[in-house]
Symmetry: C2
Amino acid sequence: MSNGLKSVTDQVSPASARDTRQFRKSAPSVDVAAWLAGLPAAQAQRQLGKLPLPRRAVVFAHLDLPLQVEFAARMPARDLADLVTQMDSDDRTDLFKHMDRRSQATLLENLPQSVRDDIRRLSSHEEGTAGSLMTTDFATIDARMSPQQAIEALRAQAVKREAISRPYIVDDEGVLLGSVELHQLIVAPDSAHVGDIMRRDPVSVTVDTDQEDVAKAIERYDLASIPVIHDDGRLVGIVTHDDAADAMQAATTEDFQRISTVRPFSESLRSATIGMLYSRRVFWLVLLVFGNLFSGAGISYFEDTILAYVALVFFLPLLIDSSGNAGSQSATLMVRALATGDVAMKDWGSLILRELAVAGALGLTMMLVVVPLGIWRGGYEIGLVVGLTMLTVVIIGSTVGMSLPFLLSRLRLDPATASGPLVTTISDAMGVLIYFSIATAVLDL
Amino acid sequence: MSNGLKSVTDQVSPASARDTRQFRKSAPSVDVAAWLAGLPAAQAQRQLGKLPLPRRAVVFAHLDLPLQVEFAARMPARDLADLVTQMDSDDRTDLFKHMDRRSQATLLENLPQSVRDDIRRLSSHEEGTAGSLMTTDFATIDARMSPQQAIEALRAQAVKREAISRPYIVDDEGVLLGSVELHQLIVAPDSAHVGDIMRRDPVSVTVDTDQEDVAKAIERYDLASIPVIHDDGRLVGIVTHDDAADAMQAATTEDFQRISTVRPFSESLRSATIGMLYSRRVFWLVLLVFGNLFSGAGISYFEDTILAYVALVFFLPLLIDSSGNAGSQSATLMVRALATGDVAMKDWGSLILRELAVAGALGLTMMLVVVPLGIWRGGYEIGLVVGLTMLTVVIIGSTVGMSLPFLLSRLRLDPATASGPLVTTISDAMGVLIYFSIATAVLDL
C-alpha cells in the first residue's frame, strides 16, 4: 500500500535484479540516489545513465556533492553539459563550486550561454547568504492579467514545474510587486485581475541576507519560498522552504558542535576523516588546559590548607562539577533560545533576575544535599564549608552561564562558541578559590 | 518596498494609531498576532473583533496557546463557536485540548455536528504522533477525472484554500491511491486522466507514527504535506510541512535541554516560571552529586598518596575536565548525528575504530602539552604521571562519550538523556582512579 516509514529509516533498494527496472522508474528520486551511492562507482554510473534525462538530473542532485563531483569527472563532456543544463540552478551552482578549476572551465565551454551566465552569477554570492541558497527557477506574471491569462502564461513558461505553484508579480523593470499562489488563481473569478488578488509587498530578503534569517522568515510566515531582491527592488531569485530548512539544520548542527567545544564542520559525521575530526576537536581541548592552570594556581596557593585538612580534596570534583553543570544548563538554554529567536538581546535584564532566583533555589537544594555528606566525612565545620561553597558556586556558575551567550553575541561572536568551555574554566577557577577561602576562614587556618 | 528582515527580528506593529487600520488589514497574520499579544487584553480583544472572520481565525491561531485560551474564555459562546468553526482543524484541536473541561463542554454544544465530530476524533490521538499533528483539511479527487474535471472538483470543495495545492487521489472507499500537485493538473494535456499523472503509492505515515519520523519523511522527500492513513489504507488526514518543521524544532530544543542535563520542557524559555525552571534543572544536578561520590571515594582511598605529593592535587581539575571535555565532544557529535539520521545504530562498529584513532591522537597531543607542566610543577616523575594519565583519560572519555548515546538508544532511551551527566561522572571517577593508581606505581608509594 504505502512505502511509509520504511523509506525513512532504512536504506531503500530494489529487492532483486528483476525489480531494478521498476525501482529506477518509480521509486522516489532521493531513494534512487541513496541506492546508487551504495553501488560500486562504475555500476552506479551505468544505472544513472539508464534514467531519462530529466529524472537523471533530479536523482543526480540528490547525491552527496563529493560523489557528484566524482561522477561528473567520469562523464563525457557533452553528457555532463546536458545533465547540468537540466539541473535546478541552485543545485548545479553547488556542483560547479565544488569542481576543480580545470573541470569548471571545460564545463562552462560546453554549456549554453544562458546557463553559463546563470552559473557565473549565482556562484559569485558569498556562502551563507540568501544569494548562495537561491535558485533562478522562478515564474513571473503581470498584474494586469486575468487569472485565466496568468495560468496560460505560466503553462508557457519554460521554468521548472514546481515554480509555477507560487508565481511572483513584477513590473516591466522586473521590480517585485507581489506574490500569489496557483490555487488563488484557480478559485479567482474570471473578471478579476492578478493585481487584485496578489499579496502586495511580500516578505522578501536581499542577496546578502544571512541564511539563518532567511530560514527564520520562511518559518515565521509559513512560506513555500521567499523572493530574493536586489537593492533596486528587482526580483533576482527565490529560496525554497526545503533548501532553507537544510541550511537551518546545518546551522543547528554547528550549534551542537560549538557547545561541545568542537569547531564547526559541515561534513557528515559518518564520512568525516580522522584528521578532520582531530583538527576540529584539539583546539579547545588544548586551550582549556591553560584555562585550568588558574584552578591549579588556586590549589597551590592553598596547599597548607589541603595538607591540614586532606578531606577537603574529597569534595573538590563534586563542587567543581556542580558549578560547571549548573552553568552549562543556563548557557545551553540561552544559546538555543537565542538561536530560535525565543529570546533577544534586550531580554537580558529581566532574565538575569529570574536566573538569580532559580540559581538561589538550586543552590539551597544542593547545599541541603551536601551538608550531611560534609558532616559525615569531616564533621560540622567541613559540612559548613562544603554547604556554603556549594550555594555560592551554583549561583555564580548559573549567572555566568546565562550571561556569557549574551556577552558573546554583543561582541558579534556566535553565542554557542566558547560558552561551554568558558563557563567550565571560569566556574572551576572560581570554585577552587571560593572553596579554599571559605575553608581557610571557617577552619581558622 | 519590502518589509524584509525587519519583520523577522523586530516586533512588527503599526507606527501610529492612523496606521492601525491599514496594518490590521494587510500585515502578515503572524505579525498582527504578535502585535495583539503585546496589547492589554481588553484592547487586543477589541482589535481582534474588528477583523473579518476568516482573517480573525488565522490571526487567532498564531497566538500562543495560553493566550488563545484566555481570549476564548472572554468571548461570547456563539462568537467563539464561529471562530473555532473557521479555524484549521489541527489548530482548533490544539486549542480544545488546552481548555478546561467546562469550557470544552460549552464549546462543543455550540458547534455544528461535523466540527464537533472532527475535534473529538482529532483530540483522541496521542501527543507526539502524526495523528496529533494532522489536519483533516485536505482535498481529494478521483483517478478517472480529466485534469479539467479535477480542477473543477477542487474549486467546488469546501476545504481550506491551501489544501487544493496538493490534492490526494482516493478510491470509493477512501483508500489512498496517489497524490498529484495542482501545477501538474494545470500543465497536463486535456486528454489525460488524473490516474495517469498522479504519483502512485505516495510516501505516507499512519496515525501513530512518531512525529520526528513524520518530519524526517517530509524533509527527505521534500514534501509540502504527507498523507496520514489508517491501517486499512484509508486517508484520514495530512501533516503539512510547516507543522512538521515546528515539531522538529521543538524536538531539537529538547535535545539541547537533555544534553545540558535539563529535563525537557516545551514552554518558551522567555515565559518560563522560576518554579518550572527549578524543577527541570534540579533533578540531574542532585543526582550527579551522588555520582561524584565515586570520585570522592577514589580520592579518600589515595589520601596517603596525596599527603606525600600534594602537588598532585594541582593537576586534578585539569585531568578530570579534559577527560570530561573529550567525552562530551564525542557524545554531543553522536547525539546530533543520531537525531538527524546521519548515523544509525549499525554504524557503531565502524565508528568506534575511528574514534579510538582520533582519541589516541588527541590524547598524545594533550600529553605533550601537560608533561612540561608536570615537570615544572613537580619534576620528571610527576611529569610522567600526569602525561600518562592524560593520554589514558582522554581515550577513555572519548570512547565512553561516543558509545553511551548508542547504548541509551539500544535501551530505548533518548540518546541525549543522561549522555552528558553519565560521561562526566564516569570520566571523573575513572580519572581519579587512574591518576592516583599511576602516581602510586610511578612514585613507588
